[in-house]
């Protein structure tokens, strides 16, 4: 079981309260698709992903970004049991979607970068550290049901 300090919980929830879930989800996913273009392999049904402008304007990318961030909200609501919360999602990513877990790490890093861009100096080192820990926990939970 993951141990969270009160400061870490506070850092995560206070940042989360300020996030526009649809916008940040969109930014983060669009960045992943541009910075790591091989990740586009999982989105062959999304239509035009041919350049950064197309990706930024793609409505399916926006919708999926929101979906991903909504799921992150789930983890944040259940910080003391992310593994159980994500059991079905982990199974889905392994058995149906066949997503390489390395992608969870890439999305986690990119989300942190997106948060830094949005919050600037308010995204202090301590807050970043709490979010890095959250990304590690989420990545581990999503990878757990892989076999």
């Amino acid at each position: 079981m993951v141990h969270w300090t009160d400061e870490e919980r506070q850092a995560i929830s206070s940042t989360w309260a300020e996030i526009n879930v649809e916008e940040v989800g969109h930014q983060a996913l669009a960045r992943v698709l541009v910075v790591y273009p091989w990740t586009q392999r999982y989105f062959s049904t999304f239509g035009n992903l041919s350049n950064a402008t197309a990706i930024a304007g793609n409505p399916k990318v926006r919708a999926h970004g929101k979906r991903v961030l909504d799921a992150l909200g789930d983890a944040i609501t259940h910080l003391d049991n992310v593994s159980a919360t994500y059991a079905k999602l982990s199974q889905l990513h392994s058995e149906k979607l066949h997503v390489d877990p390395e992608n969870f790490r890439l999305l986690g890093e990119t989300l942190i970068i997106s948060l830094a861009a949005q919050f600037g100096a308010a995204f202090t080192p301590d807050i970043q550290a709490a979010w890095q820990k959250l990304m590690a926990v989420v990545t581990a939970a999503l990878s757990k049901q892989y076999y």
């Binding site: 960045r31 950064a52 990706i55 942190i112 830094a116 861009a117 949005q118 100096a121 970043q128 550290a129």
Partner: protein, 143 residues
């Protein structure tokens, strides 16, 4: 994944803003790495203060950023520009090269934080590739 002409242009453009704040940005990148990734502290056991505000972190952060500016100014020969530093990291410092990725990440975080409008996805991509090349050049002399 070599740097394209567009990549080089993007890196030089954002670095023209970053190089003027070398100490602040370097301290932030280094301090954030030490804070969020405690394993990296093992290389700084001789520091009394590992926070972003620490004088030691400021001095060292500036060193790191100035070296990166050097790499940007010699972007067509990063291996050559990093040669002496590679020798130092390989034989004296012996930092495990896996850590170059960690510092690269916090450098990207800091660039996004300070220059959100400039740090577009394409610039992010270019900087990620640039830092990967620098990391590779730094590891060249290891074995």
């Amino acid at each position: 994944m070599p740097l394209t002409d567009a990549d080089k242009k993007h890196v030089k453009s954002i670095w023209s803003k970053a190089s003027g704040k070398a100490e602040e940005l370097g301290a932030q990148a280094l301090g954030r790495m030490l804070d969020a990734f405690p394993n990296t502290k093992t290389y700084f056991s001789h520091y009394s203060d590992l926070s972003v505000e620490s004088g030691q972190v400021h001095v060292h952060g500036k060193k790191i950023f100035d070296a990166l500016t050097d790499a940007v100014n010699h972007i067509d020969d990063i291996t050559g520009a990093m040669s002496a530093l590679s020798t130092k990291h390989a034989h004296t410092l012996r930092v495990d090269p896996a850590n170059f990725k960690v510092l690269s990440h916090t450098i990207l975080v800091v660039l996004a934080l300070y220059f959100p409008a400039d740090f577009t996805p394409e610039v992010h991509l270019a900087c990620d590739k640039f830092l990967a090349e620098v990391s590779y050049a730094l590891a060249e002399k290891y074995r």
